[in-house]
């Protein structure tokens, strides 16, 4: 049985797709056969971030509607042969998703994958609800700003009440916090919420902090998950997150500003 992870946030633009691509790649790189599904039907992006947009033939909706088999629709990643992508349909909308159809696809994937990463669309409508419905674990991606924190909080409420686990009265979804676009300098200046501020409201298990980093945009545009950029802080942060998720003990990084002795040497480069 695969473990189903939903990457969710409520708010848009906080880094769900970047995170989905990075952790799916990270898990596959660690030797776990992983599938990543784009639930953002109509706004297909994951394939771009993973650089496989030119190989999309069939999509998630085709599989749900029985127009293609899973094997036809799954795209194997070029960088890692244990990673598969199930792209969203660009020509349809969220209404094309059905709980039964999504459940069937996940069941089938569960048979020979270890992890299934569901990249949730923003919002709290059908696409987002179906992305989280079958989840075992939830990665709640949050930016250090109040609207993102509020939306994450709302999402957590939905996770604890509208998932399959909640409906069946099973053990609840395990919720983890991923704080993205964190800038310790701006936190220090009081321009950004600190980790403590965020945790005061969300009080979640922190899986990792991804520092604001130029390499994220560069990697996205290049179609290479940022986790493969081992030199970048963001890449390292995602690698840490994958390791922590898999049970390794990694101290948290990127919370404090590195300004000081090192900033003199490196000029505060990120």
């Amino acid at each position: 049985m695969a473990r189903i992870i939903v990457v969710t946030s409520g708010k848009g633009g906080v880094g769900k797709t970047t995170t989905s691509a990075a952790i799916a790649m990270g898990l596959a790189k660690k030797g776990h056969k992983t599938a990543v599904i784009d639930f953002d039907v109509g706004l297909r992006n994951l394939d771009l971030i993973l650089g496989c947009e030119r190989r999309v033939v069939y999509d998630f909706i085709n599989v749900i509607n029985g127009e293609a088999s899973l094997n036809q629709a799954l795209i194997r990643d070029k960088n890692c042969n244990l990673l598969y992508i199930l792209p969203a349909s660009q020509t349809r909308d969220k209404e094309a998703l059905t709980q039964e159809g999504v459940g069937k696809v996940l069941d089938e994937l569960s048979k020979d994958f270890e992890y299934i990463v569901c990249d949730s669309p923003a919002g709290i409508e059908k696409g987002a609800n179906l992305a989280l419905y079958f989840a075992d674990d939830a990665f709640v991606v949050t930016n250090p700003e109040i609207s993102s924190v509020r939306d994450s909080d709302r999402m957590l409420g939905i996770l604890s009440s509208k998932s399959r686990r909640a409906e069946r009265g099973e053990e609840p979804i395990k919720e983890y916090l991923l704080l993205t676009r964190y800038d310790p300098d701006r936190v220090k200046n009081g321009e950004m919420l600190s980790l403590d501020d965020v945790q005061e409201i969300l009080s979640l298990q922190l899986l990792g902090i991804i520092p604001e980093s130029k390499s994220v945009l560069t990697a996205s545009n290049a179609g290479v998950p940022v986790i493969l950029d081992e030199k970048s802080e963001a890449g390292q942060a995602y690698a840490d997150i994958v390791s922590r998720y898999l049970g390794e003990d990694r101290p948290h990084r990127f919370i404090e500003s590195k300004k000081g002795f090192f900033s003199k040497l490196f000029g505060g480069k990120k």
Partner: protein, 255 residues
């Protein structure tokens, strides 16, 4: 009744206890039915005092061994503290077991009228199980005490979630901004309250809100409300209680 004895004092008080009315003398059936009931709410019934009503049984002249019934009830987890509607023999058995006999009720009981023990005082026995004025207690029972269990929430109440309690509401975890908690009774939040809290929603003006860390968006008791803008900065982030006085919400710190 002033009593100047220094060692003790008698006070009148009301005591609630459920009454078990037996319709049948089938001991096995009774045991089964009892266990079924207890299973539904073990905490509620655990060590509960109980008054045994035998009037239905005696109405149909069914034989029942009161000693056996008492033993059975104790085994299931009840504390039999009284008998009513019993016949001479059953009352005698009760007396031997130090279980008080309710006689007042029997005066109105048309079926069992041939008993001679009417004037008997209920608290004649040495039983310690029941406080002094037992008759009062039993009279208080027919309009059954409306007991609504408090609702306990241990998970965080997240933004957008709503919780409604028909009695008191006790929240052990935080209540996020954008969440709404409502209770017909009191609200206790043993954590940070950032959302909306509405107590006494059915008009109970005696309801109160207690919270450990007051940062609420809105508080209301029986329809009278205040938003965070109107809340006193002094009580912000402090443990407070909120109650209603002449249609004004009073917020005071709990030391």
């Amino acid at each position: 009744m002033p009593n100047n004895l220094p060692v003790l004092e008698f006070k009148s008080s009301t005591f609630f206890a459920p009454i078990l009315i037996l319709f049948n003398n089938d001991i096995v059936g009774i045991e089964e039915a009892l266990e079924k009931k207890v299973k539904l709410a073990p905490e509620f019934f655990k060590d509960s005092p109980l008054i045994i009503d035998l009037s239905e049984i005696n109405k149909h002249s069914k034989e029942i061994d009161f000693v056996q019934i008492t033993q059975l009830l104790r085994r299931v987890g009840f504390f039999p503290v009284g008998i009513r509607g019993g016949n001479e023999q059953q009352n005698q058995q009760a007396r031997e077991l130090f279980i008080p006999i309710d006689t007042v009720r029997e005066l109105t009981n048309l079926i069992i009228t041939d008993e001679k023990n009417k004037p008997e005082v209920a608290q004649k026995s040495d039983s310690q199980a029941m406080p002094a004025t037992k008759q009062e207690a039993i009279h208080a029972i027919p309009p059954r005490p409306v007991y609504v269990a408090a609702t306990l929430i241990t998970q965080p109440v997240r933004s957008g979630q709503r919780i409604y309690a028909s009695g008191d509401l006790v929240v052990m975890s935080q209540v996020s901004a954008g969440a709404e908690i409502m209770a017909e009774g009191n609200i206790h939040v043993y954590n940070t309250l950032r959302g909306r809290a509405l107590a006494g929603v059915h008009g109970n003006t005696a309801a109160r809100i207690f919270c450990f860390d007051m940062q609420a968006e809105l508080i209301s008791i029986a329809g009278d409300y205040k938003t965070s803008e109107d809340l006193n900065k002094q009580t912000y982030r402090n443990p407070v209680q909120i109650y209603l006085q002449n249609h004004a919400l009073i917020i005071t710190e709990i030391v």
